[in-house]
């Protein structure tokens, strides 16, 4: 597969990723958000595959596989399991109105593109729009975490912004070293587990959402 084709494909996938994050932002219901992040991970995996094909670097294929397994299946399943374990209302209560969030999101995306536009030649180091899209994804993920009340949604946002990092990471000249990628994913999984444990313990001890605790202040 030729490089410019790959570049075009990457740009398209970047668009899709952005779109899926916006879906998460717009989601009014917990499961929708989780599915959206799963879909996003699938796009990410595809991107990995494309880049692997373009650069002929087998590591990227492996990474794509891992991504499918872990991010598109394992983690969403974990989230869903937790949700089912603790019967909580399924809808997402925003801290700030969803429309306002979307407005902010638009601003962030613009910022990301302006920023990388100012870079110039280096862009070759990173295929296509991977850089601005990555930045946008990360910031949008954090935006989700900041603007949604439920702990689980915050985890979703975290995964979303991780996806952003991975996207850029793959697009950086022929992907990162394999063992690093694996280590990173390992960490993400472990972190997710610990977060899950915390959520469950809070549910079991004091029956509230852990993200609602606000006794420690000042």
């Amino acid at each position: 597969m030729s490089v410019d084709l790959a570049t075009r494909l990457i740009d398209v996938l970047g668009g899709l990723l952005l779109f899926s994050t916006l879906l998460i932002l717009a989601a009014g219901q917990l499961f929708r958000a989780i599915y959206a992040v799963a879909v996003q991970s699938v796009f990410l995996a595809i991107a990995g595959a494309v880049l692997g094909a373009a650069t002929g670097n087998p590591d990227l294929w492996i990474i794509a596989g891992i991504t499918i397994v872990v991010k598109a299946i394992l983690l969403p399943w974990l989230l869903i399991w937790v949700v089912r374990r603790i019967q909580i209302p399924r809808e997402i209560e925003p801290v700030i109105p969803i429309n306002a969030t979307l407005g902010l999101a638009a601003g962030i995306v613009v910022l990301a593109f302006r920023l990388s536009a100012s870079l110039g030649p280096v862009r070759q180091a990173i295929t296509g729009n991977a850089l601005p899209v990555g930045i946008a994804l990360i910031l949008l993920g954090v935006l989700v975490m900041a603007s949604r009340r439920k702990a689980l949604v915050q985890m979703v946002g975290l995964f979303a912004s991780d996806n952003g990092i991975f996207f850029t990471g793959m697009a950086v000249s022929q992907g990162m070293p394999l063992i690093i990628e694996i280590g990173v994913i390992l960490d993400v999984v472990l972190g997710a587990l610990v977060m899950g444990i915390l959520v469950l313990r809070v549910r079991s001890s004091v029956d509230t959402d852990i993200a609602d605790l606000e006794d420690l202040r000042g």
Binding site: G164, V172, I180, G183, E214, D215
Partner: protein
């Protein structure tokens, strides 16, 4: 052989941690803990000696120990020993007061050693990816420790801690990716160790400044979150106040320094790539903001451990200022301050833990007359706080002195004025609160059990370091610091 030490050391402490999972007896665990820490200290010293004679050592292509590393290494080792000694006495009281359940003891010890191991890897890593992975590892292990008591506040703190720092860390990863990308690009796509700090620094001047800028900003904010720089510090007082005391000591004394280590590594690259002005400006901004933000929260604070947490924010800010003023003097001073603050803050946290144990509260308005019931602890607390507030003959005065001098040399008078005002105000608040705690007469309900010998030994170890560095910078340390400064500012 020396190179194998680099991966042996963390591995060993991992092994100890795992071994602890199999043990149930309290005494054995404590012995393992102390012994393990001692061995750790020995190993770190061995590495230091090796580096000091033969210069930087690297192993497996991903580990590296240079003079910057060994500073942090020895700090970690020292704190590990002191903390393990104090834990003996602390644990006895916790069990007595039923805060800690005997059957979960081994998890606690295991986690502590896992935590130590991850920190060791962080500072030993040459590969920036490994550095990141280890950093995230510290987050995960320490988050479990913060919430270990399992009470509501502990869990809340743990959650805030893990969420906020994970976000920060992911920024750090992104920054790493960008730097890696720039490096790979500069090497024309040749991947040989493109992610190793040493090789990146070698080609740093050829890296594209624009992308490095963005990368460094991400790293600065990301690892800065982990280091507790304001305004992204907010998780810190929560976590440091809720964690079990020995863990608080490690968090404030060692962990945030590891995050600083990451920042320093990238600072070195950015300095070479974009010129000093950029990264130093960023560091100055964060440093000043941290000092200023910490001030009101220290003045209007009633929770002893939160007070100490905010003081950590202040001191990380001071270190950042030192790096930001730049030049040999500033960098040297900042590194020295890393050691000084690590030792002092750990000491104060441990003593404060003892006081809190006796009075059963963290509210400084309730604690009275510590000097009367625990002379050693009271005196040490006073000394430690004086050191934190920056009075001679204690160590922090010296490093602050040098930092101020660096600031004057850099001609940053406005920043200095703000800094000095904040520091003096903080001094007032600090001594006021602690004076209330130490002096006066304690009421009868307070635990008056005599002070155990072993923990005091651990404290004295730290005090010795604190006072020694206050009156004298040993030649060896001076050499290491000088080399480290070389490495950072070239």
């Amino acid at each position: 052989m020396a190179s194998s030490l680099l991966w042996l050391t963390p591995l060993l402490s991992f092994a100890i941690g795992l071994a602890m999972l199999l043990v149930r007896d309290r005494r054995v665990l404590a012995t393992l803990d102390v012994a393990g820490s001692l061995v750790l200290l020995g190993l770190t010293l061995a590495i230091t000696g090796r580096v000091e004679q033969g210069g930087p050592v690297s192993a497996l292509g991903i580990f590296r120990a240079d003079h910057v590393t060994v500073l942090f290494l020895v700090l970690i080792g020292l704190l590990a020993v002191a903390v393990s000694l104090v834990t003996v006495g602390w644990m006895r009281r916790e069990l007595a007061r039923g805060q800690m359940r005997a059957e979960r003891l081994r998890y606690y010890y295991a986690l502590v050693h896992g935590f130590l191991a991850t920190m060791l890897v962080t500072v030993l890593a040459d590969n920036l990816g490994i550095l990141w992975i280890a950093m995230e590892g510290t987050t995960i292990t320490s988050a479990l420790l913060v919430g270990f008591h399992g009470d509501k506040h502990g869990l809340e703190a743990a959650w805030k801690y893990i969420i906020v720092t994970t976000i920060g860390i992911s920024f750090g990863l992104f920054g790493t990716v960008l730097v890696y990308g720039a490096a790979a690009h500069a090497q024309g796509g040749v991947l040989a160790g493109a992610m190793n700090w040493s090789s990146i620094v070698a080609i740093a001047p050829r890296l594209d400044p624009g992308i490095i800028r963005i990368g460094f900003i991400f790293v600065m904010v990301g690892y800065g979150t982990k280091a507790g720089l304001a305004p992204v510090h907010m998780w810190l007082p929560d976590a440091h106040s809720q964690a079990p005391t020995p863990v608080s000591a490690l968090l404030s004394g060692a962990l945030i320094k590891c995050a600083l280590f990451g920042i320093i590594r990238f600072h070195t690259i950015a300095r070479a790539a974009c010129g000093p002005a950029f990264s130093q400006g960023l560091l100055l901004t964060f440093g000043l903001v941290s000092v200023v933000v910490a001030t009101p929260f220290i003045l209007a604070q009633y929770d002893l451990k939160r007070l100490l947490g905010y003081s950590s924010v202040e001191h990380v800010g001071i270190i950042a200022l030192g790096l930001g003023f730049g030049g040999r003097l500033g960098t040297y001073a900042a590194l020295l301050h890393v050691i000084n603050h690590g030792v002092t803050k750990a000491l104060v946290f441990l003593v404060a833990g003892d006081a809190i144990g006796r009075y059963g509260t963290r509210d400084m308005r309730v604690i009275r007359g510590l000097l009367g019931i625990a002379p050693v602890a009271g005196t040490l607390l006073l000394m430690g706080v004086f050191s934190l507030a920056g009075t001679p003959p204690f160590s922090i005065f010296i490093s602050e002195l040098m930092i101020i001098r660096a600031g004057i040399a850099a001609g940053r008078y406005v920043i200095l004025a703000v800094f000095l005002f904040a520091v003096v105000t903080i001094f007032a608040g600090f001594i006021h609160r602690v004076g209330q705690m130490v002096f006066g007469t304690a009421d009868a309900s307070v635990g008056r059990e005599p002070e155990a010998r072993l923990p005091v030994l651990g404290l004295l170890l730290l005090v010795a370091a604190m006072v020694l560095l206050g009156v004298y910078v040993p030649a060896g340390l001076d050499r290491v610091l000088a080399h480290a400064t070389e490495i950072i500012v070239g």
